[in-house]
């Protein structure tokens, strides 16, 4: 049982690492393509295509360059997390009411200030929704990590499948599902928390 706990923690860490790296790469990239819109179509197309590669194929291909182990898994998870993060950040920022931008400009905000004080806060709920999708997907894909010598809950799941032992499969699958649900729940809370006060649906207007 202690094993499963350790694997669960490792699984969560690996998934978070993949998503974390995708944030570091994806958010600046998304902001960049909101400024250079001609790049947007191309960038989206690339992240779309990456998403369609079967995960085992991507793991195996990356393994050839990055070797056996968690680093390959984390990079794979990052690649799968890029699409929801880039797309949601881009959509969130470009979907902002033009009036808000104009108001910001009218107040004399620089582009950086506008980004930091208007665009990102207003887009945050949409970005967070992307992170939620990315995190849950990553937790699922991370179960394949064992196949390229990585860690996580894939070990009991795959061993269980090989020896047709459902309790062993479940000992890996249930914690994976649980952390997915917990992450979904926690991130949803966070999403609410980061929604700017002014945007929260105020108590329904009484008619």
């Amino acid at each position: 049982m202690g094993d499963i706990l350790a694997l669960t923690v490792e699984h969560l860490m690996l998934s978070a690492a993949g998503v974390g790296l995708a944030l570091v790469v994806g958010i600046p990239l998304a902001i960049l393509i909101t400024r250079y819109r001609t790049l947007a179509g191309f960038t989206m197309a690339v992240t779309d295509v990456l998403q369609t590669i079967p995960s085992m194929a991507l793991l195996a291909a990356l393994m050839i360059y990055l070797g056996l182990g968690n680093q390959t898994l984390v990079v794979t998870l990052m690649i799968y997390s890029l699409l929801p993060i880039v797309r949601n950040t881009y959509t969130g920022i470009t979907g902002i009411d033009k009036g808000l931008i104009e108001a910001g400009k009218g107040m004399g905000m620089t582009r950086w200030q506008l980004l930091r004080m208007v665009q990102i806060p207003v887009a945050l709920p949409v970005i967070m929704a992307g992170i939620r999708v990315a995190m849950v997907t990553a937790i699922g894909i991370a179960t394949l990590g064992v196949l390229i010598g990585g860690g996580g809950l894939g070990a009991p799941i795959w061993r269980g499948m090989q020896i047709v032992d459902s309790s062993m499969i479940l000992s890996g699958a249930i914690p994976a599902a649980l952390i997915a649900i917990l992450c979904e729940f926690g991130l949803a809370k966070l999403e609410k928390a980061v929604t700017p006060r002014g945007m929260k649906a105020s108590s329904p207007a009484k008619s």
Binding site: A16, V164, A193
Partner: protein, 299 residues
């Protein structure tokens, strides 16, 4: 609120960087060798047997990577040096790795893969374990009796009503599905690709009727399946043997002698029994490996 958010993001990033660095500089400890295996019971068992034998007979530390996603992953990892050795099959090496035409003489195949691996990849084949884990076609005993099936050719009149099922790899190989149906001139009603472990369940539930099997599969006993004789000799030899990087052998020459203790020690039926214990009786692979080595007086 913003502080909380910032903390959350930095945690994610830190987790990412930490794992990146930790796994990046993963201990290059001296006198450690890495034993790999592919992700099926027999290969894992062989990996475990070799690992335990090395631990018992030498002072080397053994790291196990025993559940790698197929031939491609294990082989690329060995070439790259992430693995020092893993159990491979002569037929797999000949066709999947070297992309050679199929050959049927066991010694010829072994000698050829030995030569090619030595020259192309600086990898050495140690002595074979003994068993030949070749492909075979299997049906339930019930069906074999009903249609009086003994040889694979006997399937011909019934194939149009039968569904053939195998793992994906069988459909992708030259010595797999396409060549098989051509050689025997079979036209199945349908074909399905499933995960190896689900194949026997599918056939037991009657969802499919004919499957590919390995001659050492433990499930053949459990599910009461009959192997149909390969009367046209379509399936080539697949003798299992350890393959090891030559630079590892140079560094630890004792490994060759130690691993060759396993030469010829495992027959087809012995391998079937070992697989059966792990896969069907749910015994721990490491314990089964220890028991095997003790029974053979090797440790």
């Amino acid at each position: 609120m913003r502080k909380r958010l910032r903390r959350f993001f930095s945690l994610l990033v830190i987790a990412g960087l930490l794992i990146g660095t930790v796994s990046g500089c993963g201990g290059d400890g001296a006198d450690k060798i890495t034993v790999g295996s592919k992700n099926f019971t027999e290969n894992i068992l062989l990996g475990e047997i070799m690992a335990q034998l090395i631990e018992n007979k030498t002072d080397l530390k053994v790291e196990r990577k025993l559940n790698l996603g197929g031939t491609l992953v294990a082989w690329e990892a060995l070439k790259k040096g992430d693995l020092d050795l893993y159990p491979e099959y002569t037929g797999t090496a000949l066709m999947a790795i070297l992309k050679k035409e199929v050959m049927y003489d066991a010694d010829e195949v072994y000698n050829l893969v030995q030569k090619e691996y030595n020259e192309q990849f600086q990898v050495k084949w140690l002595k074979p374990f003994g068993f030949n884990n070749t492909y075979a076609t299997a049906v339930t005993r019930e069906m074999a009796e009903k249609y009086n099936l003994v040889k694979t050719s006997d399937l011909k009149p019934y194939a149009k009503d039968l569904v053939f099922c195998a793992e994906q790899e069988f459909f992708n190989r030259d010595d797999g599905y396409d060549g098989f149906v051509k050689t025997y001139n079979l036209q199945f009603k349908d074909k399905r690709a499933v995960e190896t472990a689900l194949k026997y369940q599918a056939v037991a539930e009657g969802k499919v009727q004919v499957i590919d099997a390995f001659s050492t599969d433990g499930e053949l006993v459990t599910y009461d399946m009959v192997i149909l004789e390969d009367d046209k000799g379509f399936f080539p030899p697949y003798h299992g043997a350890p393959i090891i990087r030559m630079d590892t052998l140079e560094k630890y020459p004792e490994l060759e002698e130690v691993l060759n203790l396993l030469a010829g020690q495992i027959s087809d039926t012995e391998m079937q029994q070992l697989n059966y214990q792990v896969k069907e009786q749910k015994k721990d692979a490491a314990e089964v490996a220890t028991k095997f080595l003790q029974d053979k007086g090797l440790i």
